[in-house]
Amino acid sequence: MQSPVLFPSKNASTRPQRVAITGAGIVTALGHGWAVNAEGFRSGQTAFRTVRGFDTAGQRVQIAAEAEPATGLAESRLGEHRSRRMDRAAHLLLEATAEAWNQAGWAGSPCTVPVVLGTTSGGMGLGEAYFRRCIGQPPRSRGLATLALHYQPQTQVSDVMEALGFEGATRIISNACASGANAVGEAFEMIRNGHAERVVTGGYDALTQLVFAGFDSLQALSTTRCLPFDTRRDGLALGEGAGILCLEPMDAAHARGATILAEIVGYGASTDTHHLTQPDPSGEAALESMTEACAQAGIRPSEVGYINAHGTGTRLNDAAETQAIHRWAGDATPRIPVSSTKSGIGHLLGAAGAVEAVACIMALRGQWLPPEPEDLVPDPLCRFPVVQSPTSARFDHVLSNSFGFGGANASLVFRKA
């Protein structure tokens, strides 16, 4: 039952509630679903190829981690006509949401569930098609209204909710590359502070020509390989996909006998005002978000068993994040393994923080550390060990960082269930 008001919260609690993750769904270039992605992250697979979705011939770079198209969802309540109108990003979102929804065991229960998602592009592919039709010679007006409608992330999310048979308030955060982490963090706070009983959260983004060309124009794309924290690193590689989590209070999850995948215990967010696209070299805002997340989790840096870094592979990001980790961890730095899963699946922009959250949950459950390529040459400035081969480990907490254009910084802490 949905509260009749968003504010004030009817059930706001004075005692923080523990937040359980009872469902997770994922689509990346590694494949569709938990099993194939878990094996890909564990073994350090890479999934880059020449982009097929649009023409990259005139650009410096032609490589990205492109996901295989979704095959369609058998249980979708959308008709074929409506499903056809969904673009690539919406299909990625639908598939990941369906996996999380089913894993949580929420399917079949009539419910109203708020949705908090992150994306940078939404239906940008449809927006590009709209633009091309308008400037074409002659311009084509047929279908423009449909493109304008489905370009909007709210329509995409609404379609997904309808396909899975639930409804609720939607909130779509677009904080550039931190969008997915911010969405998960704010969904976590909704449950923790008693503002909601269940939340679907995560992030999604599909590769689009405008965004690909944008990063290429900034010369931020690697012309070789994406090698975060490598001394030879020369840029990032883009990817696409979706990561979705189902959150609920720990007590409620226990009461209904749900499988608890992990617990979210901390969220920190801050704003780096240094520059629109470049991080503060001192890592000050990143330090703040990491510190806030761990303070909320009630843990010291030495209790973090693995950091899933933002680690884009650009000179500036990795240097600033390295500084932030050193300042945050202090003497514990040499004992905290760090890696960036972007070396395998690319930078998923608005989906990155959410997909990397799923990767962290997989690592916690499997007790392994996602490696970067074995031939990586760690930057000597890094005082932390960069994971370079499939590694088993015993650990209880993971920290995941996401930093974005505009200075959006977010950190999440997960605890083993």
Partner: protein, 333 residues
Amino acid sequence: MMTSTRIHVHGIGVVSPAGWGVGSFREILDGHRVAPPSELPHPDGLARTVLRVPALVPRPPWMAHPRMRRTSPISQFALAATFEALGQMGMPQPCPGLGILTSVMGGGVIYSRRFYGEVLADPSTASPLLFPETVFNAPGSHLAAVLQTRARNDTEVGDETGFLTSLALAARWLADDVVPACLVVSCEELDWPNAGAIGLFPGKTLPSEGAAALLLRREPSAVELVGVSSPHRCSHRRARQVDLETIRQDLRWTSAPTTQVVRAGGSDSMNRLEPRFGEGLAATGGWACVAAVDAILRGQCQESVAVVDGSNGQTLACRFQSNRFPTEIPAVA
């Protein structure tokens, strides 16, 4: 954690086709003048009639801030509305700890149009100066940089109702002690892609642009934000009307003559802001809230409600009340 749920409005700011500031907004709200329409060229050869924000002359000092050099109008609108809400004139003053929530629907469409046009022409020469301003959170980022705040800063992409969901989140941030003060902003700019898109939907009025801002704190002020409704979804996209009575019950506002209702965002033009200010997408929801708060500030009512019908088939409302008059208005559940 939540210690108090009483949230108050400490400032309002607005940029609209009426001009820059609440003063010009009131002139059109009160019917003393109308915003002049203009023509916006479209690649199909048919110019669209739109309501644009008039040029700001002379340029205010904050336009000289390094972050503002390459910004497009959407960021300038957002900053102007913000400074008015903060009560700042001249050069901006630092506001450390200020949370910011920005809502957009079209976002930075001017730079997006220019950049994608360059990509289609020749991607190897597309300008790296344009791309960063195309991201949805560019205006929110500029606000944080100019105001020197490193606190929470979210950009929400939605429809006309985005300002109201941001109000609800801001109130929760304040109630949960996440930030000591929170600015809620909505902003839009016009270019042919969104002006053309608005014209594709029946019943819409002239496309327009601008921004609105509300500053919220827990400390008492003349106007209190009493509640924000959950979204009511319409059964069909074309039937955007949600029964006002349903929302009235949710927010428990009285039907007394002391209550003023401002409605915006729908496809009909009855008693709405749009005939005067045009279809300003996300800015429209902000204008409705500014108009509702301003009605209380001007002593026109003791209680006001902004009801906003979103283009994506949902309706939200928020209720404000005066703190100057002791009332028997029932609290929201």
